[in-house]
Amino acid sequence: MNKLSESSLYQLTSARFRLFFREPEAVFWIFVFPILLSVGLSIAFRNRPADVLQVAGTTAQITQALNADRGLRATTMDEATGAKALATGRVLLLAVQRPGGVTFDYDDTNPDARTARLIADRAIQKAAGEQDSVETANQQVHEAGARYIDFVIPGLLGMNLMSSAIWGLGFSIVEARQKKLLKRLVASPMPRWQYLASFLLSRLLLLVIEVGVFLGFSRVVFGVPFRGPIWQLALVCVLASLSFSALGLLIASRAKTMEAASGLMNLVMLPMWIVSGVFFSASRFPNILQPFIRALPLTAAIDALRGNMLQGASLTNLTLPVAVLMAWLLVSFAIALRIFRWR
């Protein structure tokens, strides 16, 4: 044995590593789950040729006019049957022949129905003899960086950084406290700071694997772009992971049972999963909520990751999210150290 491997910091950190890799569930949630989730989302939101939309008309003429457009498939049904088909979602739009013209029945909160309305209107005008006043042509573009998968990968990365840090620290510390292991360690000459430092060290080492595997997969399989400097992306990941670790430490600083700890963790993480822009943009929430949402660590982490990866923004353009992450790191860590319960 050499000197390094005899040091308590090395032993504590390698114990953390062993305990992590001997827990198959943890390995699954941190390494495999984000990849499965991104594959699932990429299938659900894949870019595909625009759908042929199902519509209905009340007369054979209308149906014929609608079928003339390749974007629609129309069937003829009477108004009552059509209303039922509309209500059950079998058709998106019902074109009804009225004395003065044609009425479209559709749900205007459904984007597909709105599209059907536009196409149907054009098809019926065209059948009535209207001409395009300007000649137009289509050219289709599928640009990397503008797809849903490009949007969601930084979101999933941010979510993964948060859950692995908070679960990793929170559960291990509360378990050690509940099983009186913390008390036993404090009764030994172990320097207390090294116990906490071993969590941060093992977290940072795991981060290299975790982020490397996930982003490597996204690059190779989805061709997700990395437009900003890679070293700055790494820095953002480290900063985000440290902030979430500090938050995990804060959550674990007093909880005595696993039940209390997991309740607290869900209380902290669930709202952020929803509002912080993992799956859809956080700007969809009302303006009045925006200052609160922007102040959350997950929003800041995801904003910084998207800024770097998608817009190629450098850190100097990401001062707000970086400052938010720094603030969470310092404040949580300071409070956690002050109130931490060792027994």
């Binding site: 005899e6 308590s8 032993q11 114990a15 009764a187 000459p189």
Partner: protein, 316 residues
């Protein structure tokens, strides 16, 4: 191994006027104690007597409300880190990480000490050689307790604290642990242990202190304490309730030191069974008492506790 050259003239443990309350509950109520080097000292008492609070104050895990504690001539306020290097601790109900192996756990604990035993040596002392590559989660209760002992020993401590080391173990595992403590005593270490098993204290300890309600109510070698209740043998009997019976005349029999009634049983403390039992029978017969139970046993620390407090050790 601590040889005689490392023993200074400081005693192993000196406690003066120790008090500790948790809210309304007084756990330790003015305690004085001296333990010499090389002693195996037992703190005895029922659950809630204040044994664990006392030992945790000695281990530097709990701060007392008042009073002083000195270990090996050092105190916790000024020399905590030096003290931690020199004492070994086994706590009640510590659960080590289940997925670490025995040797990994000991290597971790060894890394906290500046000097100490090799991991292999501590495994051998705790007789865990066959389990050194097993995960902690797969050990039996007795093996886990021996691992806790190995973790306490790996820093080669001068002073060893064992808090209820055999609670919850089966008889065979208890005996194995006693043998380990015997070896440590033989090597001249100072050991302070708590227990609520009187037989364990009698078997292991040079001296014991009996605690109740946060105070020491008796202190001495197990022999001295047993002798102090007068009479080394105990006669217990029960009689039918129909006959009126004057117990006072029993103490007039030569050789009967004292009489008490405990849990419906008459108890006589006697010095010699063979000369005292026949007159007891004769007297009971002359009184017309109808015996429903009669037995004798050698006095134990259990009887000491009962005679001091009127309660059994595990009453609560």
């Amino acid at each position: 191994m601590p040889g005689p050259d490392r023993l200074s003239n400081h005693s192993a443990l000196t406690i003066r006027g120790l008090k500790k309350s948790f809210g309304e509950v007084v756990a330790v109520d003015g305690l004085d104690l001296d333990v010499a080097r090389g002693e195996c000292f037992g703190l005895l008492g029922p659950n809630g007597a204040g044994k664990t609070t006392t030992i945790e104050i000695c281990e530097g895990l709990t701060t007392p409300d008042s009073g002083t504690v000195e270990l090996l001539g050092l105190d916790w306020q000024r020399e905590a880190s030096a003290l931690r290097q020199r004492i070994g601790i086994q706590l009640q109900e510590t659960q080590f990480p289940e997925k670490l192996k025995v040797d990994e756990t000991l290597r971790l604990f060894r890394s906290f000490f500046d000097r100490g035993l090799s991991v292999e040596r501590s495994i051998a002392m705790a007789q865990l050689e066959e389990k050194r590559k097993s995960r902690v989660g797969g050990l039996s209760g007795g093996q886990k307790q021996r691992l806790a002992m190995a973790c306490a020993l790996v820093g080669d401590p001068e002073l060893l604290f064992l808090d209820e080391p055999t609670t919850g173990l089966d008889p065979q595992a208890r005996r194995n642990l006693w043998e380990l403590v015997d070896q440590l005593k033989g090597a001249g270490r100072t050991i302070i242990l708590t227990t609520h098993y009187m037989d364990e204290a009698e078997r292991l300890c040079n001296r014991v202190a009996v605690m109740d309600h946060g105070r020491i109510i008796a202190l001495g070698t197990p022999k001295e304490l047993i002798a102090s209740i007068g009479g080394e043998q105990i006669v217990e009997f029960a009689i039918g309730e129909d006959a009126p019976f004057d117990a006072a005349i029993l103490t007039q029999i030569p050789g009967v030191e004292s009489h008490r009634v405990h849990a419906g049983l008459h108890q006589l403390f006697v010095s010699e069974l063979h000369t005292t039992v026949p007159p007891i029978f004769a007297l009971l017969e002359s009184q017309g008492a109808h015996l429903t139970e009669f037995r004798t046993h050698s006095a134990t620390l259990e009887d000491v506790f009962v005679s001091l407090t009127g309660r059994n050790l595990r009453d609560e």
